[in-house]
Symmetry: C2
């Protein structure tokens, strides 16, 4: 019996979920929900209905798990609790500081409705969080390091686009190789913001715009760029489209710890991702977690969960017996 | 209330568990059990009893979780089921081919006694298995690669020591950098045994021994060396003791997968370990899993589990709330 998935929101992430479902033979796409006019939307899966977001509740019996693909700023804080009243849900809420608040709201709604919710799924929060937690539990005497990139930061790209005279922009976050090597040496260095990452910006300026002013505004922008070594390249719109249309990302989570009676030995645990498509990978994690939500539901569990609560085998379509034989 | 741990077997792994317990403030060492004469053993923790292995059952009320530190060849297949009749247990059974059989025997004993057992804990099987499983669940369209080293292989070192004229030997397994890079390129290469690892041997020969014969016997040894590019260095006993007394190890688990509607994007997940002390790290994983066994027991669960069944948060001393706030 296939797990029937609903996609709520059809942007980059929703399209990624649609693609990921095709790679998992125990799942089928049941419906896509959109706040746009459903008739205006063409999806990639034949025969699957596209419905208005406000008609989701009508499909409660046809969907086993709803995957929410909206944004963390304004969509998910209201959508996830609202949908958890009718569906088992999975979201990618990624505002780290507000996770406890979001968890509480979703847990209340899901527990009340007897549903399961898995929140903050993806890679950070998500797989990176899981690795920080696992590595810290194994090596309590140690330090965590997280590096992001090389990859496109949507928030930083948007910040540049808001500058007067900027037509388009793409910002790459790049980990500093020397900092990575210092961490890998086991020396547990203390690293400043500037020492960990650099920022590289590709900017299309309006004709006649003051390039020196734009570059200065970028490099001195508080929080976003002022604390980093930032480089700015002005390019044509054609070059932007040709070379910077992808959404790659990735990063590194490293735990540098000590073992032994006198902490005389170093142990390094490193987890890294290198992703051609950030939203497609996030979608792949969401889909595996939808399977876990379904398993939780079958086990009679309710309420809100995170990746830290999921028995790993719940993420796999394979049986425990098969996993032990082939993967352990 | 501290989790009271028993150590069953006091070799390198048992000593590692003793050291790891000190790093975890929610645990205390309750007793060490040995098959040697208990009076002959001096442990590193003051005031903790050293008892004969066959008296373990007497301590059932004083121990929350027993960590088994014996070998997989002959000790654990009988010890783990036997002790699971009286204790919640954790072991590091690492004979991959026999895991299903060991699981069945331990599950029967633990379920019958109402105890929890966590088997095959460490890094391979253990953290490497977990990463193979997680990465495969996220990226079903892809291939797994596991590389070991650089590190000391006990089995290969022992095999060399059995050759006539060899006084001592240490064998390092070394992943081939070019193979690692080929995997990281996302090309999903098919790699032969020889292409993945090389073997480097340091050998102390008896005075007057035929070095050419020893080297030939090593390099042509079936299963152990014949399929690898092997180098042999003859060194003095002094050099062996000075430079090769450590037990370092490590390795890499890489998943190279595809995302996107037409598998047009590559995603790479890499997990790696670099360990000064292989047994101390294995011990650190055992201790974290002892905490998980205790949590399972508190939740009323019984029977045999592996790392694939453990909700990650069970491994950490922190509360769910604290984990969500600080690590998610």
């Amino acid at each position: 019996m296939s797990i029937r998935i609903g996609i709520f929101g059809y942007g980059n992430l929703g399209r990624g979920v649609e693609a990921a479902i095709r790679q998992n033979s125990d799942m089928t796409l049941a419906a896509v929900f959109t706040r746009r006019n459903p008739d205006s939307l063409t999806i990639q899966t034949e025969g699957v209905p596209v419905l208005a977001a406000d008609r989701a509740d009508e499909m409660a019996d046809a969907i086993d798990v709803m995957i929410l693909c909206g944004g963390s700023a304004t969509d998910l804080p209201t959508q996830t609790p609202a949908l958890a009243a009718h569906f088992h849900v999975v979201d990618s809420f990624d505002n780290h500081a507000k996770i406890p608040e979001h968890f509480a709201a979703v847990d209340r709604a899901a527990a009340h409705a007897g549903k399961v919710a898995v929140i903050s799924v993806g890679w950070d929060p998500g797989m990176f969080s899981l690795n920080r937690m696992l590595s810290g539990a194994i090596l309590p005497d140690g330090a965590d390091y997280t590096f992001w990139g090389k990859g496109v930061s949507q928030g930083h790209s948007d910040a540049i686009r808001r500058i007067e005279g900027v037509v388009d922009a793409r910002q790459y976050t790049i980990p500093v190789e020397a900092a990575l090597e210092a961490v890998r040496s086991g020396s547990c260095p203390t690293l400043t913001t500037r020492e960990k990452h650099t920022r590289e910006c590709f900017v299309v300026a309006a004709e006649g715009a003051d390039l020196a002013r734009i570059e200065h505004e970028i490099k001195t922008m508080p929080a976003y760029f002022a604390d980093y070594d930032t480089t700015v390249h002005f390019i044509s719109l054609a070059e932007m489209r040709e070379k910077h249309s992808g959404i790659p990302h990735g990063g590194f989570v490293i735990r540098s710890g000590k073992t032994g009676l006198n902490a005389e030995h170093t142990a390094l645990i490193e987890y890294s991702l290198k992703l051609d498509s950030n939203p497609e990978f996030t979608a792949s994690v969401l889909v595996a977690c939808a399977r876990a939500a379904h398993r939780f539901a079958q086990a009679g569990e309710t309420g809100c969960k995170t990746i830290l609560d999921i028995p790993p085998a719940y993420l796999s379509p394979k049986s425990g017996e098969e996993l032990r034989r082939s993967l352990l």
